[in-house]
Structures are given as structure tokens and as C-alpha cells.
Symmetry: C2
Subunit: 203 residues, 2 copies
DNA sequence: GAAATATCATAACGATCGTTACGATAATTT
DNA sequence: AAATTATCGTAACGATCGTTATGATATTTC
């Protein structure tokens, strides 16, 4: 019963993702959002709730639509391939769209007013989940002999995270894909190797 | 002639630095600034100009008061010591003050509205200067045999920058100093060595 | 002591922020 | 066809944004 929606909610959310990606949570106004989506303010509120709820949905969409390389990387056979796939995919993603460089998960809300604190926490938590997931994957690698017994998986995961975040900052500053790939390569240059056949160095 | 200032301009600027450090450029309001400095709005305008000019002066102050370890690092004898000093000093600085973690140079203005574009550019330029200065220092190291002929100094400088920026993001997320130091250590494990006596490996 | 001047706090400026009444419009139900 | 209901665009809400006009206050100069 009642009138039908005149816009596609999924399509609007995709456009919203792009806006937040470029300007961050607090940098985006509803004027920006209506302009990008072609949807008036009240319709956005009716479809997504308030700005915070909208951003959370945009973040979820961002993860599933753009950060899908991350869970995919976890499936790769060796820890080095996992790390390499993450870093190079990020280098590509962060420079894929000239109008929205870098990573929504990083500059969506790094600093800001106190009002943005819940969003900042949400992004921190999301990144922590990713890092924990990588750490677990590396622990598995250690058990498989793909990483040495001495390897500190938590540190390695944090290191990959740091390079990842740093590349996002650099991408936002205009670094080319090539330059980011060189950074990724350097980061990978001393990835520890175990004694398993998985590493491809023995046998 | 005329009335005297009732506040210390240098002291006020120090307080302003802390506010921008915590909330970033656009996240700071003049209510925040008067609260932190004890100086009313018109007095801040009279002493520093508008918000953008104030931030630029705060950034300069930040560099000379907190990022002094960077030029100091350039004086160290080996490229590895240079990189190590930068990374460990950053890990310390980014976690030194619980009320303002991370780095003003990073989250002062990563993303935001179009109005903040000049400030974003200023931060990007400032970081680029630092990276270029590091690259030049590494070029010198190469000439001294402290780095191998094959070393790509621009890439190494960008890599140090990426880890630096990534640590700033992680510090803002609450990472401990120990964890950041572990990241720095991992980053340094990729550091190439030359054949000079400087490296301390030969001779 | 009187005139001149720079800084002070108060209070307001127009613009924009996120959010929402409101009446018109279109679709469904009886 | 009439009644109901959800969505539409317009227009406005109070709050806050960065910025500044204004008059009182304090200091210096004549």
C-alpha cells in the first residue's frame, strides 16, 4: 500500500559510498549526498536513517564491494601470498578511482569532532577485525610450517596493517599505483619463510 | 600605545596545537579553541588571523616542537640508524600524550569538505618535503657505500613514510607504544645493508 | 589629566549543519 | 470510485559554523 519508491536504494547507497570515500564522514553534507544520489534529504532519512546509520551502511557496502580481496587473500596457500595479495590489491584499489583515492576505512573518520566518536570507533573496530583475521591466518601458517616458530604473527599482522594504512594516506596524497606497489614490495622484501613445502623454498 | 595583551601568544598557540592534534582541522571549532586557550574568539583572530592561518601556524609549531627528531635523525651516521631513529621516535611521540595520540601531520586533514582542501594540500606538501629530505639522505648513504648500489632510495623513503603514516593511524586507534615499536622493528628488518665500514658489518 | 589607541568581552552576523513538519502526489485496498 | 497509505519535494526547524561589529577597558602619549 502507498506510493512506490522512485529511486533504487542500492544504487543510492553506492553513490553515498563514493561521497564518504572522498570527503570522510564529517566532511560530507546532505547537500553533497542529495547531489550525488539525486535523492532528496527526507528520502535518504526514510531509507537509511540518520547520517550515522547511513555511514554505517555505506561502510558495510564498502567492505563487501571493494574490500572483498581481503577475505579472498586469506584463502591463498602461503602467508607470503596472503600478505602480497592484500598489499598489491590495496595499492590497486587506492588508486583505481581518481575521484576517490585512498581508503574509506582509513580516512572515513581518523580525527574529528566529538560527535564523530562513534564512527571513529566503528572504523577502528572494523580494522581490528581485519587485523585479527590476518593474525589468525598467520598463526595457521606457522602451524603449517609456512612461517618460522619464531615469527610473531600479531606483529606481522600489525606491520601489514601499518603499511596498508600508510599506503592509503599516500594514495590520498596522490601517490601513483607504481609507487605504492614499490612500497608494498619493500614491505614484503623480508617476509619470513618457514620450512614447509608451502613456502616453495625448500623441497 | 594602547592596551597590552592579557595572554601569551606562544602559550596560546601551544594549546591550539593540542586541539588540532586531537580533532583535526575541520573537527575543531572556535568554541574548542577558546576553551583550550582561555582566549576569546576575537583575540584569536587578532593574534593569528582566521582558522586556516591559525592552523598553519600551529602546524609550523608542531613541526619545530615535536618533529624535531626528524632533522636530528638526518645527522646520524648510517641510513639504518636514520630510519630507526625516525621510526622509534615516531612510535614514542604518537603515544606520548594520551589525550592526543597519533600525528597532527597525518590526521590534521586527511579527508574533509572542499573548504579544507588548502589545508590538506599543506599537509601533503609538508610530508613530501620530509620524504624528499629522507630520500636525499639515503642517496648520500648510497654514495657512501652505506646502501647498496641497487637500493632505490625514493622507494625506501616512501616505505619509511608509509610505515610512519600507518603507525600514526594505529596510534590514533589506541595501539600501544610497544606494539608500534614492534611494527617499526619489523619494518627495519627489511633494511638493506651496503659494504661500507659505516654499516658496521664489514671490516 | 586629556586624547589616542590597542585589546578586551559580549553579542550578533549570515551561512550551513543535521534533521524534520508539511502538504502534494501516486499507488494500493476496499 | 473512495479511502488509505507510503513517498515525494519544499521549506523550515534549532543549533552551530567561522567571522566580525561594537562598546567598554586599560595603557600610552601629549
Amino acid at each position: 500500500m502507498g506510493r512506490n519508491r522512485e529511486f533504487d536504494v542500492d544504487q543510492a547507497l553506492d553513490a553515498v559510498v563514493c561521497v564518504f570515500w572522498r570527503k570522510g564522514y564529517e566532511g560530507v553534507s546532505y547537500t553533497d549526498l542529495t547531489q550525488a544520489t539525486g535523492v532528496e534529504r527526507p528520502a535518504l532519512y526514510s531509507a537509511f536513517g540518520n547520517k550515522e546509520a547511513l555511514f554505517r551502511q555505506a561502510l558495510t557496502r564498502y567492505y563487501e564491494r571493494y574490500l572483498d580481496f581481503f577475505p579472498a587473500a586469506m584463502e591463498l596457500p602461503t602467508s607470503r601470498e596472503v600478505a602480497a595479495h592484500i598489499l598489491f590489491s590495496a595499492a590497486e584499489l587506492h588508486t583505481r578511482y581518481p575521484d576517490r583515492k585512498g581508503c574509506l576505512g582509513i580516512h572515513g573518520a581518523l580525527a574529528g569532532s566529538d560527535d564523530a566518536e562513534p564512527i571513529r570507533r566503528a572504523l577502528i573496530d572494523a580494522r581490528a577485525i581485519g587485523e585479527a583475521s590476518l593474525r589468525d591466518r598467520l598463526e595457521r601458517a606457522k602451524q603449517e610450517g609456512d612461517l618460522p616458530e619464531t615469527a610473531n604473527c600479531a606483529t606481522l599482522a600489525a606491520f601489514v596493517g601499518a603499511v596498508l594504512h600508510g599506503m592509503a594516506v599516500q594514495a590520498k596524497a596522490g601517490f601513483s599505483r607504481d609507487k605504492l606497489e614499490a612500497v608494498a614490495e619493500q614491505a614484503l622484501s623480508t617476509w619470513p619463510t618457514g620450512n614447509s613445502t608451502l613456502s616453495g623454498k625448500s623441497s
